[in-house]
Symmetry: C2
Subunit: 398 residues, 2 copies
């Protein structure tokens, strides 16, 4: 198929389904994932995830996290810092322990237990952020806690991944390698908010004085992509770098409505769609897998463990049970990192095909359920509260 | 290299060189091509033209022609219709005859003569349009004549390509196949301006009533890509379909400044850059080729024949020697189609490697010279005229 036709098919179906879902009150993201499932090898078999679609998808998640960084109120984010760190920690420890123990009950081998524990521990930043933007709750206390926890979670996740692949390959863990990974990640973040911030601001301010009309737009995209690539080179996910770039450039971009609209269009009107459609393309639903007790058990463990972890981590800071549970819902979706871990583990012979399939179905199911749980949590909570202390729905910019 | 790093490297170097060229008074496009040459296999060898970059480049030329269709004043374009058709015809016949005769003088075989004639006949729509947009002369009489001639030229070029490949493969031409190609092209254009126009307008108007905020932007891009893919499926270049889609949607998009700005950013701030950088990536300068007498001869024949053809075709309609010569300059750049013809002909064993290399250098040289000749033509002409009858510099929107 002509690659342009593939791109058109994905855009048309994803946008149509997204619109449909939005009209009946569900997050449009679910429609975009559904478009991927239908076009993908599981159903119509018209589209497979090739290099180009993977790059579109990567640019999509970079654009998504960059935009959420730009939209995020830095003061609100700084205020949620402690809540986010503790929530991330609890939101990893509980699912990790659950996965390890659950694997034992299921008769998994040690390395399979470790795999399950890792897969259950890593939140999908993309799904969490997109849902908050769609629900216009990004800049609420719950929203900033969720995003912060998802970002910190990614850093912990990278360490877990390192342990998993090290044990799988060599049977043991090299402390020096792990320490290097952690040190590089922390160095990246420390540099981003000091020298990196000054450098990026200097470049961006100069881009406005150029003769090329589209220069600020191009430079904003270049900064987002470059920071994401730098994060990736150090072992973090592209999304973490893009989010930090958005936070840094936020004040300069938010005030330029025309530029920000252009970047929103670049993301939500084009690239972001490919990120969610790609998640659907990875999904090959086999009826036997869909109804297996293993899937049902994993799914319940996945949702329950992150919700419990998120609740335990945030209740001290938020002081409200329903809000804390909503934070837990917000970090429940597992995403592309879990799918990649599952694929590499299958390829490395760490896990069986049936465990792989069950994990893929579990991941997609959490992506489909988490936004609905979040929506429910915000709605019930805001109904109970005085309007003045509600979810600040005006904070979302879209 | 991480594909995101490749994308960043191309964007940074192309935008920097584009800005530099613009500041010293040359078309930024030349800087973008130069960035491709430097990053490409000829010099640094950091980037090669892979599938993904080719798709970026294709979306770039689609965006470029879509934008030029949107910017084009339909009445001005309709007024230039006859001038464009005759210019296209003369602008193909003269270079074709020149190529055929020139090949004979050079001792080429019959099929090599036919190859040279074909390569000299096909104007680069992308280069012509980009130069007119950069010079803000798209909606002048000269500008509309150039664009119209380049579009019609592509249709004639497709027929020539069919003849060339048919003779190369089978030793003869099948009249039925050629007639089908021509009939399909004409049918596509006729349908585009009747049923296609109604369908596309219906869809676009409805996109504004959707709940999804970015829907008009996404739908405009979908229509551009889909029309381009339809043209390509019928044997035309993507660019022809994209230009027609732009003409059809023009009135609806031009009046929505925010939407049009978003699409300009999508094109000139991102994808179009990859189209021109890709031209540079195809160029591997070998010192021996650069200074060969064959290259020099081909280059002179290429510029002289298209300029003469363009002049002869348009002088009757424009009534002014300098304007008619500027039209000739405007259709002098050969582009990606000529490069593709050269590659497929080399692969098919129709031409020798030395002819191939000479043609590639000739194509790049016309791309570099034509914009400078056009700029000179517009400037001298406008200096001579009263300001009121000048080039309507406000017509360009950028």
């Amino acid at each position: 198929m002509d690659p342009i036709v593939t791109i058109v098919a994905i855009l048309v179906l994803a946008k149509a389904f997204g619109e449909l879902l939005e009209r009946i009150g569900y997050p449009p993201m679910i429609g975009e994932i559904g478009a991927g499932i239908i076009l993908g090898p599981g159903i119509l078999g018209l589209v497979t995830l090739n290099d180009t679609l993977e790059i579109f998808s990567t640019i999509g998640v970079i654009a998504l996290l960059f935009i959420s960084g730009v939209e995020m109120n830095p003061k609100a984010f700084a205020a949620a810092r402690n809540a986010a760190a503790v929530t991330a920690a609890a939101g990893v420890i509980v699912p990790f322990a659950t996965g390890f123990a659950g694997g034992r009950l299921l008769g998994f081998t040690f390395i399979e237990q470790l795999f399950l524990a890792t897969v259950l521990s890593i939140t999908s930043i993309g799904v969490a952020v997109r849902t908050l933007i769609d629900l216009r709750r990004l800049n609420t206390l719950v929203g900033t806690t969720i995003v912060g926890a998802a970002v910190v979670d990614d850093i912990i996740g990278i360490v877990l991944l390192g342990i998993l692949s090290s044990i799988a390959l060599t049977g043991g863990v090299e402390a020096a390698t792990l320490a290097t990974t952690i040190a590089l990640s922390l160095f990246f973040i420390a540099f981003a908010f000091t020298g990196g911030k000054r450098l990026v601001s200097w470049i961006f301010v100069r881009s406005r004085r150029m003769k090329t009309h589209e220069m600020p737009y191009a430079v904003a995209i270049i900064i987002a992509l470059a920071t994401a690539a730098a994060a990736h080179a150090l072992g973090l996910h592209y999304a973490v770098g893009a989010f930090i770039a958005g936070l840094i450039l936020g004040p300069r971009i938010r005030n330029d409505r025309s530029l920000f609209d252009g970047i929103l269009d670049f993301g939500f009107g084009f690239f972001v769609t490919f990120f969610f459609a790609s998640i659907g393309l990875l999904f090959v639903p086999a009826p036997a897998t869909l109804i297996s007790p293993l899937v049902a058990l994993l799914f319940v463990l996945a949702i329950a463990s992150k919700t419990a972890g998120g609740y335990l981590g945030s209740i001290h800071y938020l002081g409200d049970h329903l809000r804390a549970i909503t934070v837990g819902f917000g970090i429940s979706a597992r995403g592309e990192i879990a799918l990649v871990v599952a694929q590499t583990s299958l390829a490395a012979g760490i896990i069986t095909r049936s465990i792989y399939s069950a994990v893929v179905v579990m991941v997609i199911a959490t992506i489909l359920l988490a936004p609905l749980l979040m929506k429910w949590g915000f709605r019930v909570h805001e109904k109970r509260e005085e309007p003045a202390t509600g979810g600040r729905p005006s904070a979302g910019t879209r």
